[in-house]
Symmetry: C2
Subunit: 116 residues, 2 copies
DNA sequence: GTCTATACTGTAGAGTCTTAGGTATAGAAG
DNA sequence: CTTCTATACCTAAGACTCTACAGTATAGAC
């Protein structure tokens, strides 16, 4: 819609996916929809990035998948968080908090340090 | 040193470089040093990423460079922020604030939205 | 019966980083 | 005087992650 849509920073998909799955198992399409809605349409994962990311996370053992038939009768690959994935999520959320602290400090810094 | 060093998110170099140059002209090495110091050694730009980034920013017209001989007698390529670069810096800082707001909201969300 | 939303998959290409290497000067240490 | 460290720059190979685009296919609405 608006051009005001935020471009996701590279490398931040993973934690968003893990976070989404922490609510419970979901298939790919639902992950991307939830993310759009939860961010008031400001964050969007393209499908071309979503499915590779899901496979990546599964390879690392952070999520696991299973083909299931939904109530709707549709087949879908349902992903869920593993125990390792839960730990990873916690770790990444912590790292993110630290990141914004440091990064914001730099961006808000006043000129006092000397630049040779 | 400590393994606790944060890995910079891709795509966040540029705004850091612009920010650094907003203090005044500096050469590449000084930019990376300032960044390390200003972040208490938590953020680091590898040289292999720094110099390409500087050239990139110059191509876009956000910074400009000039060879100068420092008081030390050493030659160095000194970069400075252009007017366009100043506007770009302001724009990116605003975008960053918005990004952390949205992203944090998602990461802190409580399970109320439905995940089909 | 066609259209929309759902659901998944794949490829090509661009952009950005990491890793690892290289050149060269100034000044201090020995 | 020679070697080491800090300074200062540059490049290339490769990996990774995203975007853009292009598909396939089903369920339900109209």
């Amino acid at each position: 819609m608006t051009d005001s849509q935020l471009r996701l920073l590279k490398g931040t998909f993973d934690v968003l996916i893990l976070k989404t799955l922490s609510w419970g198992p979901a298939h790919g399409y639902a992950v991307s929809r939830w993310l759009r809605e939860c961010s008031d349409n400001e964050l969007r994962i393209e499908e071309g990035a979503l499915y590779p990311a899901l496979r990546r996370l599964e390879e690392r053992g952070w999520i696991e998948s299973e083909w299931r038939t939904a109530e709707s009768g549709r087949e879908a690959r349902v992903y869920s968080l593993t125990r390792t994935g839960q730990r990873e999520l916690a770790r990444e959320v912590t790292a993110w908090r630290r990141y914004i602290t440091v990064f914001t400090r730099v961006l808000e810094a006043r000129p006092d340090g000397t630049l040779s």
